[in-house]
């Protein structure tokens, strides 16, 4: 047994009171085993991962339990000794590699720093083993890539360099804290494959923390499901996937099964014709984009970050007037700039944002926000306004007492509901949803998607749904537009786009989305190695 944590209790501080984050948790790990920790945000995954290093964040404290690593009790030893273990025998890979590197130093110098500091190896030895790790992690040009600075490599490469850094001292245990969450799917698959291979080949033990079930299915031998600081269920991966026991686990598994029957009828409410756009007259981010949106349906715009999907939303809303091309709404040509559009037109196109937090003014009460939209555009006041606010709250399944609350007093899912209500308050024809569920936990995200679908049925509103998540697309889209580097790669009804034959990019995108099958990653890689459609594109990790 490499790591044995028993009866761990951790408390966090808020203002003056301590409240429990981890309520008595056990965790054991054998050498060469990968343990997956999954759960929603606030479940205590990261806290537990850090506790495995005998570490608690600022404002947190470990109050009970024992942490025995390789026969040593981490809680009993002084901090100075624990520090000697960290980085050398236990390593940590953080979510955002970009924020974890010092931009002023070369990658290789940062990778060998720990080894040098603790005198584990000489500079040339450390360099040699790091280059070896770069090679194992399939980084391009492993001999020289270390000479670059962090901004000179891509996000996926940086995450792999960080893995190499963690492994530089050949630790026995590595804690991966959501290492691929910030990456695009096509990049994520590369990082996952590299990490999996290295951990397996070098026979390391790892704790892999994520909220993505499909990812954990690929990486872990054993899965622990956490909620509210307690273990819900623990089982080997295959058993956990095929036969979850607890209701909560089952509900997590069920999230991905949401489906909608496609229907592409209806007249065109929005037509984007040959739009080309650029920021500040510089690089063009949209090239000759044409999209048609049928009334009362959902068109999903799919693509990686940088594909121009959010820019498309800015063109439609008038925040970014296009260089050429037109946007027609209800058969009428929209003035290109926001300032030229009359109030009656502004009402008809609404927007819901990815992050509910910056989208809600923290100083205004929910009732005020909804009320302002209602009275400004629909001219309601007094009782009628009050009644409409109540209706809206009911529509998003929140009770009337919420109108007095500030955004701070709501959970993430509730905030997103309020954003939806604000958009629908003015009875729009078209709602642009910009990644509205990607910042939310899976169960909450599913609730939001269900709400959006129900509101579409009830109100007949049209959605332009921007996302990078194929599972979401399958759940809500009628039509799909696939975008890549500012161009439309493919568009059409959902069934058509999702079934072969695909253009090369669609193929790559679709095959990169992790599935809930523990063999998925190996199969995909094997297929790509045989020369599948996306192989060439995968080689050139941007």
């Amino acid at each position: 047994m490499l790591l044995e944590m028993r009866g761990i209790e951790i408390e966090g501080q808020s203002e003056d009171t301590w409240f429990p984050i981890i309520k008595g948790m056990d965790l054991t790990l054998r050498r060469g085993e990968v343990l997956g920790l999954i759960g929603e945000s606030g479940a205590g995954k990261s806290t537990m991962g850090l506790a495995a290093m005998g570490f608690a964040r600022d404002g947190c404290r470990i109050t009970a339990g024992s942490i025995v690593f390789d026969g040593m009790d981490l809680r009993a030893m002084p901090e100075s000794q624990r520090r000697k273990l960290r980085g050398v025998r236990i390593a940590y890979v953080a979510q955002s590699a970009a924020a974890s590197f010092n931009p002023a130093h070369r990658l290789i110098d940062q990778c060998i720093e720990t080894a040098m500091f603790y005198g584990v190896a000489s500079a040339s030895e450390a360099r040699q083993s790091t280059v070896d790790l770069f090679r194992r992690l399939h980084l391009p040009d492993p001999e020289n890539i270390g000479e670059r600075y962090p901004h000179q490599v891509s996000g996926g490469q940086l995450q792999r360099v960080m893995t190499a850094m963690a492994m530089a001292c050949s630790p026995d245990l590595i804690v991966f804290d959501e290492p691929t969450t910030a990456l695009d799917v096509t990049t994520q698959i590369e990082v996952l494959a590299s990490i999996k291979e290295v951990v397996r080949e070098l026979h390391k033990a790892a704790i892999y923390i994520t909220h993505d079930l499909a990812v954990v299915a690929q990486m872990a031998d054993r899965i622990m499901v956490l909620r509210y600081g307690e273990v819900v269920e623990e089982a080997p991966t295959r058993q956990m996937l095929s036969d979850p026991q607890e209701a909560y686990t089952k509900s997590l598994w069920a999230v991905r099964s949401l489906r909608k029957d496609e229907d592409t009828s209806g007249d065109k409410v929005l037509s984007i014709r040959n739009v080309t756009a650029a920021y500040g007259g510089g690089v063009r981010v949209l090239h000759d984009v044409t999209v048609e949106v049928p009334r009362g349906r959902t068109v999903a715009v799919v693509g990686e970050s940088g594909s121009g999907k959010s820019t498309l939303a800015r063109v439609i809303t008038g925040l970014l007037p296009p260089i050429s091309g037109t946007v027609e709404f209800d058969g009428q040509r929209l003035p290109p700039a926001l300032a030229q559009r009359p109030k009656s037109l502004l009402r008809k196109v609404q927007m819901i944002y990815q992050m509910p937090d910056p989208a809600l003014n923290p100083k205004r009460r929910i009732g005020d926000m909804l009320g302002r939209a209602v009275s400004y555009h629909l001219g309601l006041s007094g009782k009628a306004r009050d009644k409409r606010i109540s209706e809206l709250l009911e529509m998003i399944e929140l009770d009337d007492s919420y109108r007095e609350r500030l955004p701070m007093e709501l959970s993430g899912g509730q905030k997103q509901r309020v954003c939806i209500a604000r958009a629908l308050a003015v009875e729009p024809d078209l709602v642009i949803c910009d990644e509205v569920t990607s910042a939310l936990d899976q169960i909450v995200a599913e609730e939001i998607l269900k709400l959006l679908l129900r509101l579409q049925r009830d109100l007949g509103v049209t959605y332009l749904y921007i996302t990078h998540d194929i599972a979401t697309v399958k759940a809500i889209a009628d039509e799909i537009v696939v975008m890549h580097q500012g161009k439309v790669v493919e568009s059409g009804p959902k069934s058509e786009v999702l079934s072969p034959p695909h253009p090369a990019y669609t193929e790559l995108l679709l095959s990169s989305v992790p599935e809930m099958d523990p063999d998925w990653l190996d199969n995909v890689l094997a297929e790509r190695a045989r020369g599948g459609a996306g192989a060439a594109a995968v080689e050139g990790d941007r």
């Binding site: 409240f19 606030g42 600022d58 502004l346 923290p362 100083k363 959970s411 909450v444």
Partner: protein
């Protein structure tokens, strides 16, 4: 998910915290925070309240009138009759100290308010509108700030005369440049938030966006800056009064009082230090309170 009672509630720990925060009223929360405030902040608040009381009730507290000549003897020594002695024309020094609280503090306060109304309004406007208006205003303010402050004020006061209104306007406008800088900078962070864009997409007009969306979110740093600015304005006016261009006689003012009695220092009399000490105490107190307030609103922890 029928087995879950509340499918989209916040975690239990969060809920408890939120409930606790909601259950307390605004006043109770303020009292609670005050109770936890460090000793320096409490001391500062106490002093500020004392100054305000002195200023408001000056006619009732002061033993003699503000400009009343009470003694034929100038520069009289401290005595039971005249606690801090008399000044250069035989007015009671102690009474003038108390009236000084009224004049100096209120004039400094009005000037600071003017600087803030002007500076914050133009600053937020600059941040919201952007473009060449922002550039133009920015360069204009740069130009004003490039001129040494005291000298510039002295020149303007010599040109336009030294009446109270001019004094307030000159210092207010000059200080507004600094408030402009700050409010523009903090407003820029708010303007890029999605809720401001959402308000624009809803077709909200500029005054609404400035006043309702941006301003409430930049109030904490502005309030903290208000305290500091007030100190600087106070010191500037005191300095101008000392040079004879600030608050004019017969109004009692601490700055002028230092000047008028300054010769006494040469004879080992500490009387001129009293108004100076009054200024120092107020500035220090305000700084204590501002420090605490900044700590609270910026979410810094005492580690």
């Amino acid at each position: 998910m029928s087995d879950q009672t509340e499918p989209f509630s916040a975690g239990p720990a969060e809920e408890i915290m939120l409930a606790a925060r909601r259950s307390r009223g605004k006043f109770a929360t303020a009292m609670y925070e005050l109770g936890k405030a460090p000793l320096t902040a409490k001391f500062g608040l106490l002093m500020i309240v004392l100054y305000i009381l002195l200023a408001v009730f000056a006619p009732w507290i002061a033993p003699y009138g503000e400009a009343e000549v009470v003694s034929p003897k100038v520069y009289a020594a401290w005595s039971d009759e005249f606690v801090f002695g008399t000044d250069q024309i035989g007015r009671d020094f102690f009474s003038r100290m108390i009236y000084g609280a009224r004049n100096s503090v209120s004039i400094a306060f009005i000037t600071t308010v003017l600087a803030f109304v002007l500076g914050a309004a133009v600053g937020v406007l600059s941040a919201c509108v952007g473009g060449w208006i922002d550039q133009g205003l920015g360069r204009f303010v740069d130009t004003l700030m490039a001129i040494p402050g005291l000298i510039f004020t002295l020149v303007l006061l010599t040109i336009f005369g030294t009446d109270l209104i001019t004094l307030i306007l000159v210092i207010g406008i000059f200080d507004a440049t600094r408030v402009y800088r700050l409010s523009r900078a903090v407003a820029l962070n708010i303007v890029v938030m999605d809720f401001v864009e959402a308000a624009r997409l809803q077709g909200e007009r500029l005054p609404w966006i400035m006043g309702r969306e941006v301003l409430p979110n930049i109030l904490p740093p502005l309030a903290a800056e208000f305290g500091l600015r007030f100190c600087f304005v106070f010191l500037t006016i005191a300095a101008l009064s000392f040079l004879g261009l600030g608050i004019q006689p017969p109004l009692a003012d601490w700055g002028s009082m230092v000047r008028e009695s300054s010769t006494l220092i040469g004879y080992g009399d500490i009387t001129p230090l009293l108004p100076a000490a009054a200024i120092a105490l107020l500035t220090v107190s305000v700084n204590f309170v501002v420090d605490w307030f900044l700590h609270k609103t910026s979410g810094l922890r005492d580690v």
